[in-house]
Symmetry: C2
Subunit: 425 residues, 2 copies
Amino acid sequence: MKVLTGTTEDISKILYQEQLELSKENLDVDDAVRQILEDVKKNGDKALKAYSEKFDKIALDDFEVSQDLIDQAFEEIDPEVLEALKNAKVNIESYHKQQLESGFEDQPTDGVIRGQLIRPIERAGVYVPGGTAAYPSSVLMNVIPAKIAGVKEIIMITPPQKHFEPAILVAASLAGVDKIFQVGGAQGVAALAYGTETIPRVDKITGPGNIFVATAKKMVYGLVGIDMIAGPSEIGVIADSSANPKYVAADLLSQAEHDVRARAILVTDSAELAEAVEVEIEEQLKRLPRENIARPSIENNGRIIIADSVDAMFDLMNQVAPEHLELAMDNAYDYLDKVQNAGSVFLGHFTSEPIGDYYAGANHVLPTTSTSRFSSALGVHDFVKRIQYMQYSKAAVNAASHDITTLAYAEGLQAHAKAIEVRHD
Amino acid sequence: MKVLTGTTEDISKILYQEQLELSKENLDVDDAVRQILEDVKKNGDKALKAYSEKFDKIALDDFEVSQDLIDQAFEEIDPEVLEALKNAKVNIESYHKQQLESGFEDQPTDGVIRGQLIRPIERAGVYVPGGTAAYPSSVLMNVIPAKIAGVKEIIMITPPQKHFEPAILVAASLAGVDKIFQVGGAQGVAALAYGTETIPRVDKITGPGNIFVATAKKMVYGLVGIDMIAGPSEIGVIADSSANPKYVAADLLSQAEHDVRARAILVTDSAELAEAVEVEIEEQLKRLPRENIARPSIENNGRIIIADSVDAMFDLMNQVAPEHLELAMDNAYDYLDKVQNAGSVFLGHFTSEPIGDYYAGANHVLPTTSTSRFSSALGVHDFVKRIQYMQYSKAAVNAASHDITTLAYAEGLQAHAKAIEVRHD
């Protein structure tokens, strides 16, 4: 891992440069994706079939995954995986139900009613990657908040497969997906955004995908809503001398195994711990089945930052604004106040990140590459809209009229003023 | 106005085609904006000064608007405008305070704590357009929610002027802006996103602007948060035979005067009302100072849709998903349940849209071009992040261990399983 030392300001500069790199556009992908979007918009199902043959090497007659295939998945799934998915679902539901908002209404003066409604979006689309990146846990994390929000119809799409991983179809069914279509990539995103003869267009698209999927989501944003542009996954660990280097190393590696671009960042005020973690990482890496991914990730993107105080540790980590943040400290709960930017926080020596990835119930779809500075974990709030409303009686309009028309004339918007004046007695 | 009749399905298709047109990209602008962003990222203040001379024809020594200029604005402002701004501020504050969320925490089983913190974003940037599009009311609407959310520093930028409209500076001061810099366009957005020697980079950028500003916001999205990509302003009016055609016409025109691209859409089940509104529009247009804007807007983008039932009126209008929605009906409040998509709803014959634009307290920064299907008015929620947290005791990890490792192995993520197993006794 690269070790960063120096003043907080020096390290800040380095962190910001890295963040700029991560947010760069890729213009070649842009052009390819733009063409796919146009094609699907124009040619619908026909385009989808062509892309399926070209990219997935599968000729499809029908995109919808049948109930028979789903029933079969329930028969094929390992019963222990089924049990674990069901238990995870219970926890995800009980956590997310706490996010349900209610509207409000007040009557600030006579004849005036103001309020805010909370309405679910009507139709949501969830993208689920294919192959080894198909995670049943992500299906639960994307679908359950939408279901709790009250979304009427949830459409899932996933690249065509000769044989679907049973846990994916089972998770979709447990979570309450209404329809599953086998179509992936930028063309899948296009189908959800524009609709085709068989795939209905949705109001919002969520779920992770490769660079083509991410670029397509960014391009259709505006016509439909999207969750976020997910970058490489990352973990930040703040550890002091009370931390166990074995645990810290294992947690950093659990992130590194995701992707060669994944980032594992340790901030510590203990040089001794930093060294012990480096030794442990090497020790554990050797025995890791996904060493081929985790090693380049750790070597290229791993960072150990030595800070000289508790406050400096938190200042720097708040600048990293990590997707996952572990506080490997005694009495970690007491330090929550110092956390300004993070998607999800794991407190104390035993709360390893995978607990949150799979089980505790908080969402694992989290803001990456420093976007936790301004955005949040996926949740029920992402599947609702707030609709404002107001009602003024005739007397209330007359009472407010002078102020309103004064502002309208000051802004040069005379028709705005006239719309009030036409209602005068 | 163009009159649309036919089945709900036919009209739906036309509305969707119009929506597609509105969401099209403009690739020429893209290239120009990309160059400006790169220039400001690399050259900072020097680039900003060059663009100010080039685009604004003003040579600046210092970007910051001094306290002297702000004090002077308070002396210059029309006292009635000042009074109206103060009254509007009171209403905006009392409405938005109702949006403040609190976090939650539960202990679902022994040794497990889960929760969600609400944290304000740290630094927000507000873009305020220059010239005739500089609206003091928009300053209040963008800044007050950020202030209520608890944002620590609010930076406002606005294009350089020989003499600033006093109401703009006064509104900024009343609302609690911390610093004002005179820099506009794509270069202004770049300054907020990347920071320069004098302008600090922010975590989120809000506020309306022209196509260059909007494109720049879209491009820096990811590195910073943005509010939304605002399209042309629009009003939808659902009116039945109880509506007053004078009022309906005045309200449609109040939207049309904003911009030749603004959209005014009437849906009614009364052919008689439709005709009366058309006559009134012509009558009022003639006397409108901004007729040169409002007339092409009404002629090109005005729509009258004749629906054959109350439900059909709401179905079609929910598909339009207008930024502003007026229900010009008796007992309008009782129809709120039928509204699925709208930014802000104005109930009854007297609640003219300008009441909401200026005064009632609900926000006037609203989702345009059908995006109210999945997004909402600007509010306090746009200036906070939700941070999840969890803590498992050693015993709680052991109890959950089997389920977690089962799922990790099923997904082929062995390091995730190891991070749990390393904590076993």
